[in-house]
C-alpha cells in the first residue's frame, strides 16, 4: 500500500511517497531506504548512508552525517503551527519566575527585560520582541511555569 505524506523542513514542504518495498520518493526523486526496527536506517543504493530516526507526535527526528533534523509531518485537517506573534511571551521551558519587571498598561520597547526566569540555576531574561503596551501579566515571582504558558501579553 502506497502512503503519501508531506514533511516540512522549517517552512519548506516536501512531498513524499513511501511504497511497500520502502522505496521512498522525495519530491519526485527515488531514494532507496532500508529501515530497521531499532531506529537505524540505511539509505542509498548500497545502504551506505546511515541515519537514525525517532518519532514524537508530528515531529520526526533524524540524525544523519553529524546533523540533527527536526522535521514535521503534516496532518490532514490540522493547521500547521505558525510562528507565534510578538504579542504573547511564553515560557520556553519549565522554570521559576524570579522577577516581573513590568505591570499592565506600561509602555515597553523592543529588548526591554519583562520577566526573569530561572531554570537549571541560570537566569533567563525574557525580553520584549517589539515595542508595545503590556496588556496583561499572568505570572508572579515564585510561580513555576511550564513551556508554552503565556507570561505577558503585549499589544
Amino acid at each position: 500500500m502506497e502512503r503519501r505524506i508531506v514533511i516540512h523542513d522549517g517552512e519548506m514542504p516536501h512531498r513524499i511517497t513511501v511504497d511497500d518495498n520502502r522505496t521512498v520518493i522525495v519530491d519526485g526523486t527515488s531514494v532507496p531506504v532500508i529501515g530497521g526496527p531499532d531506529s537505524e536506517v540505511r539509505i542509498g543504493e548500497n545502504g551506505t548512508v546511515r541515519a537514525w530516526v525517532a518519532a514524537s507526535g508530528d515531529t520526526r527526528w533524524v540524525y544523519l552525517g553529524g546533523r540533527v533534523y527536526e522535521l514535521e509531518v503534516e496532518r490532514a485537517g490540522r493547521r500547521r503551527r505558525s510562528a507565534s506573534g510578538p504579542s504573547s511571551l511564553s515560557a520556553p521551558m519549565p522554570a521559576t519566575v524570579i522577577r516581573v519587571e513590568v505591570s499592565p498598561g506600561e509602555q515597553v520597547q523592543r529588548g526591554d527585560t519583562l520577566v526573569i526566569l530561572e531554570a537549571m540555576k541560570m537566569e533567563l531574561p525574557i525580553r520584549a520582541a517589539a515595542d508595545g503596551t503590556v496588556a496583561s501579566v499572568s505570572c508572579k515571582p515564585g510561580d513555576l511555569v511550564q513551556p508554552g504558558m503565556a507570561l505577558i501579553e503585549i499589544e
Binding site: D9, V31, V41, G57, D58, G66, A83, A119, P125, A129
Partner: protein
C-alpha cells in the same frame, strides 16, 4: 588502609565513574538519588542506593543533613563528592569530619581558603604566582561594585567571590550595562552559592584558558599532571578540553606547572586539585595569570587520565585514606593527545538554553581510543532540575590531528534524538579551520557563531529516513510533544 564503603554524593556521569572506581578498588559503593533519579543509571551503577529527598537539588543532592543521614544509615566510612553540588562546600567537608566520615578531597580549611576568590588571589600573589590585575570592592553595593569596575577600567569581569562554573559571572564592556549586570551577577551568586559577594577584575581579551592538574598527599608530596587547554567555552563553561595545549612551548609549560605546584604548596593542598590560568598571548611572548583553584576532581579529568595513563579517582582513594601519592613527578609523562567533548542537552541556536525531555534514541559510539563517561540511557529522561550534561566523549590518539579525527568520527556515530543536544555543534567546532590550527581563545565560540550556528537544510536522505520512522502512526492529540524548546515559536532575544 583503604575504605570499606563509600557514599557517592552526586549523580549522573561522575557518580557512575566513581562507582566503577570503587568496584575496581574492592570498595562497596552507595549511590544517593532524588525522586527524579529513582531509575537513573548512577543508581544502578552502585552496589546499593538510598533516597535522599525530592527532585529539587536543594532538598536532595545539596542537603547536607540528608546526605549525612544516608551515609550513617548505610554505614559508609567515606564520602566522594564528585564535582559540583557539595564538592567545594567547606561546611559539608567539615560536617563529614565531625560525623566520622572521610571526605575524599582536600581538608575543609583548604576548601574555604581557596573558595574565596579574593583570599585565593592574595595567597597566590604572596606565593609569587602571577594574578590578573584586579580590584576588590570593599563597598559591595551596586554603586560600590560599579566604582571598582571603573577603577579597573572597562571591559571588566564581575564574578561571584564564592563562585565557579560561570555562575554569577558577567562581562561588562561599558558603564551603560553595568548596573543590570551587577545586580544579575549578585542574584545568581546568592541563588547558586548563598553568598552575593562580588569581585571585579580586568577582562583580558582573547585569553586562553589553560589549567594544570595537581595532586598532593598528606606527607608533603606535590606533583603536577600537566595541563589541559579548556578555551572552547560557552556561557563561561567549557565544552571541549584537550591535552597537551597546542599553545604551550616547553618553557611556558615548565613555568606554568612549577607555578601550579607552588600554588598547591602555598594552599596546603591535599588530594586532587586544579590550578586554572589565563594565558595572554598578546604582546611579547605569552604570560599566564592565576585565575582560580578548583578544590575537587574536574569534569575534564579523563583528558589527563588519557595522556598520563593514571587513574585520578583511584589515587584520590589512596590519598584520602592517608597513603602516599602513587607517583613521583619523574614517573609522570604526557603521551599522545586527548580531546574531551562534553555532550549537553541544550540548544545552541537558542543561546545554549538547557533542554529537558525524553531520550528517544541514545546510542553511544565505541572504538579504540574512545572513552564515554555518561549518566543517561536510551528511553530515559533528562530532568529539568540538574545540570544538563549527558555524556563526555574523550578521544585519544598519537597526535592532535588524529585525536580530532577520532572524536569527530565518534560524534557522527553518537545519535541522540528526542531532545536537542550540542552534538552537531561540537562537530562544527572540530571542523573549524581555526580549531584545527589550534588558534583557540575563550571567545572562540562567539567569534565563529555564524558558522557554527548556520541552519542546514535537510537533504533528501534525511527526508526519506523521516518517512520511514518507526512509530509512524496517527496520533489523536498533539499534546504528546516532548518538552523541548522550539525556536520557531519561542521568544526571541534570550539574554546571555
Amino acid at each position: 588502609m583503604t575504605f570499606r564503603r563509600v557514599l557517592i554524593a552526586n549523580r549522573g556521569e561522575i557518580a557512575v565513574r566513581i562507582a566503577r572506581a570503587c568496584r575496581e578498588a574492592g570498595i562497596e559503593s552507595v549511590a544517593i538519588y532524588s525522586d527524579a533519579d529513582r531509575d537513573a543509571p548512577h543508581v544502578r551503577a552502585a552496589d546499593r542506593a538510598i533516597r535522599v529527598g525530592p527532585a529539587p537539588s536543594s532538598q536532595s543532592y545539596l542537603s547536607v543533613p540528608a546526605i549525612l543521614e544516608a551515609a550513617r544509615a548505610t554505614s559508609c566510612d567515606a564520602v566522594h563528592p564528585g564535582y559540583g553540588f557539595l564538592s567545594e562546600n567547606a561546611a559539608f567537608a567539615s560536617a563529614c569530619d565531625d560525623a566520622g566520615l572521610t571526605f575524599i578531597g582536600p581538608p575543609a580549611a583548604v576548601i574555604s581558603r581557596m573558595g574565596s576568590k579574593v583570599g585565593a588571589r592574595q595567597l597566590m600573589s604572596g606565593a609569587g604566582v602571577p594574578v590578573v590585575p584586579g580590584d576588590t570592592p570593599h563597598d559591595q553595593s551596586d554603586s560600590g561594585v560599579l566604582q571598582s569596575a571603573e577603577r579597573a577600567g572597562f571591559p571588566v569581569l564581575v564574578k561571584a567571590s564564592a563562585g565557579g562554573g560561570g555562575k554569577g559571572m558577567r562581562a561588562i564592556r561599558d558603564r551603560g550595562q553595568a548596573l543590570e549586570a551587577i545586580a544579575a551577577a549578585r542574584r545568581e551568586a546568592v541563588s547558586a552559592f548563598n553568598d552575593g559577594t562580588l569581585y571585579v577584575e580586568r577582562l583580558i581579551e582573547r585569553p586562553r584558558h589553560i589549567e594544570v592538574q595537581i595532586f598532593a598527599d598528606a606527607h608533603g608530596n606535590v606533583v603536577h599532571l600537566f595541563e589541559r587547554e579548556c578555551s572552547i567555552q560557552r556561557r563561561h563553561q567549557k565544552i571541549i578540553e584537550e591535552s597537551p595545549s597546542p599553545a604551550l612551548t616547553a618553557g611556558v609549560r615548565s613555568a606554568m606547572t612549577e607555578a601550579a605546584v607552588a600554588a598547591a604548596r602555598a594552599a596546603g593542598y591535599v588530594n586532587a586539585g586544579t590550578i586554572e590560568f589565563l594565558l595572554d598571548e598578546s604582546g611579547d611572548g605569552s604570560r599566564f595569570y592565576f585565575l582560580e583553584m578548583n578544590t575537587r576532581l574536574q569534569v575534564e579529568h579523563p583528558v589527563t587520565e588519557a595522556v598520563t595513563g593514571v587513574d585520578l579517582v583511584q589515587a584520590q582513594f589512596v590519598v584520602a585514606a592517608g597513603g602516599r601519592l602513587p607517583w613521583t613527578q619523574a614517573s609522570l609523562t604526557q603521551r599522545g593527545h586527548a580531546i574531551e567533548c562534553r555532550v549537553y542537552a541544550e540548544d545552541p541556536a537558542a543561546g545554549f538554553l538547557p533542554q529537558a525531555g525524553a531520550l528517544l534514541v541514545y546510542r553511544e559510539p565505541a572504538g579504540p581510543g574512545i572513552r564515554i563517561d555518561s549518566g543517561v540511557v536510551e528511553g530515559g529522561a533528562v530532568p529539568v532540575h540538574y545540570d544538563p550534561l549527558l555524556a563526555k566523549l574523550t578521544a585519544s590518539a598519537e597526535s592532535r590531528d588524529a585525536a580530532i579525527a577520532r572524536a569527530r568520527a565518534a560524534l557522527e556515530m553518537f545519535p541522540i534524538l528526542g531532545i536537542r543536544t550540542n552534538v552537531p555543534f561540537l562537530i562544527r567546532v572540530l571542523d573549524e579551520s581555526d580549531f584545527r590550527a589550534g588558534r583557540l581563545h575563550t571567545g572562540f565560540i562567539d567569534e565563529h557563531a555564524p558558522d557554527l550556528l548556520a541552519r542546514s537544510t535537510a537533504p533528501l536522505e534525511a527526508l526519506a529516513a523521516a518517512a520511514v520512522a518507526p512509530g509512524e502512526t496517527p496520533r489523536t492529540s498533539a499534546s504528546v510533544r516532548p518538552t523541548t524548546i522550539d525556536p520557531w515559536t519561542s521568544v526571541r532575544g534570550w539574554g546571555r
